[in-house]
């Protein structure tokens, strides 16, 4: 069916929009200057954390993504690696349960998987919408958390390790999908240890970051989607 293919390219965009920028949506939206007591302190805390986290040029991390879906007994587990090079280059490699890679830059999205064994490429140069998506993606992974209070109610869950919960406010579009997002930081607070996204549907996605290296040297093979190790 034609629709099977036509959705293919859409899906590449949707994946960004839904998971990462989905989170971005929750964090993006409108600014509420009022805030409850403690929100000013939280803003300062987030700014401080954001500055600490954003002090890197490159990032290399392994990840385990667990998806518990309300309709299913067993959870889905994806394992892989993420490479990020500021200002706007990110590679997302899935190693298990199948091999898949996507490279996102300010100019293109390129993806490959072992089953089709095809490299697909989409130009972003004439697509300002997805240039913007890349911008948000980079900001999210780069730790520029200054605007996290915007559109969300923020709660400090724990100080050691630092755990912060974001609940979309009524006027936040993410409210329709996301119940809350919880960030857990490493002990040194230089990067994320875990992101947990709880959806209204009952689905819960948890991404654990392991073996995270900041400013590690990255070579070109880190950003290759085909023939990678």
């Amino acid at each position: 069916m034609i629709m099977y293919w036509r959705i293919g390219m859409r899906v590449v965009f949707s994946m960004i929009l839904c998971v990462i920028v989905g989170a971005g949506l929750a964090f993006g939206a409108e600014t509420s200057k009022g805030g409850t007591p403690g929100q000013a302190d939280l803003r300062e805390l987030l700014n401080t954390i954001g500055k600490r986290v954003s002090e890197f040029k490159t990032l290399k991390t392994d990840f385990t993504q667990e998806k518990k879906m309300a309709m299913f007994k067993q959870k889905l587990v994806l394992k892989g690696r993420i490479y990020l090079q500021k200002p706007n280059k990110i590679a997302w490699h899935v190693d298990s349960p199948l091999r898949y890679s996507v490279l996102i830059t300010d100019k293109l999205i390129r993806q490959w998987d072992e089953d089709t064994n095809q490299v697909q490429e989409i130009s972003l140069t004439k697509n300002p919408v997805f240039q913007n998506v890349l911008g948000q993606l980079t900001v999210w992974f780069s730790g520029e958390y200054g605007s996290l209070l915007d559109g969300n109610t923020v709660r400090l869950v724990k100080r050691a390790p630092l755990v912060i919960e974001f609940t979309p406010r009524e006027n936040n579009p993410a409210k329709k999908v996301i119940k809350n997002i919880t960030l857990t930081f490493r002990d040194d607070q230089k990067y994320l240890q875990q992101i947990r996204i709880q959806e209204l549907s009952g689905d819960v996605t948890t991404i654990h970051f392991m073996n995270t290296l900041l400013n590690a040297p990255l070579n070109s093979s880190s950003f290759e989607v085909k023939g990678r190790v």
Partner: protein, 221 residues
């Protein structure tokens, strides 16, 4: 007429040339095998309920697109649930169904712009996982290496082909007016949890000219 020929060639080339990435079942002589015992043996090895994670390649007109399908099948109740994700774990759609209906529980807006994709997927899941045993009244024909069963189905008829030393179902085909409408081929059966599961499945829809290649990645139950 010219358009019809072009359409036929297009479908033939798109579907006919697609490579099957699985091992064909090794054929053994079945001339002396009782057809009813083949069906009974296959039924005994058929899992009633299971949850499986598959990779699914949608192939159309030489273009390919990969998804991850988490499928929960209950053959006793004729029910299924499926969630399709992209390889980054983003949910594309989620649906449930039974013999009579398919309900879309969730779908990305972007997908619904192109028609009722979940229903199409739900129908293909039914074709792959349900009604895989011929009825007792099916017409039997024996070849040297295969045993086939044919029975009326809807506006046409269904044909089941069993083969191999374990006499597994290797093909299920649906015809209308003697034209092949779609075919499901099952490959590389393996015993898991005491039941037999094909590790590879290929569905070819000749009517619309697309192919689904399904690989089992994980069996949960």
């Amino acid at each position: 007429m010219k358009r019809l020929i072009v359409l036929f060639l297009g479908v033939f080339l798109a579907v006919g040339c697609a490579r099957v990435p699985f091992q064909e079942t090794t054929l053994v002589p079945l001339e002396s095998v009782d057809p009813s015992s083949v069906v009974e043996s296959f039924k005994a090895g058929l899992p009633a309920n299971f949850q499986v994670l598959n990779s699914v390649v949608f192939e159309y007109n030489w273009r390919k697109f990969l998804g991850l399908g988490n499928v929960d099948v209950d053959r006793q109740e004729n029910r299924f649930r499926v969630v399709c994700l992209n390889p980054m774990g983003v949910k594309l759609f989620e649906l449930s169904g039974d013999r009579n209906a398919i309900v879309t529980d969730y779908a990305l807006d972007a997908l619904m712009k192109y028609g009722d994709l979940p229903t199409a997927v739900g129908n293909d899941i039914r074709r792959i996982y349900f009604d895989v045993v011929p009825s007792a009244s099916a017409q039997v024909s024996k070849g040297k290496y295969t045993i086939s069963f044919r029975q009326p189905d809807g506006a046409g008829y269904m044909e089941y082909v069993f083969a191999g030393k374990d006499r597994d179902l290797i093909e299920k085909s649906y015809y209308e007016d003697d034209d092949l409408v779609w075919r499901v081929s099952y490959y590389e059966y393996r015993e898991q949890n005491g039941k037999r599961y094909p590790q590879g499945i290929v569905l070819v829809n000749y009517q619309y000219g697309y192919q689904l290649t399904v690989r089992q990645k994980e069996l949960y139950s």
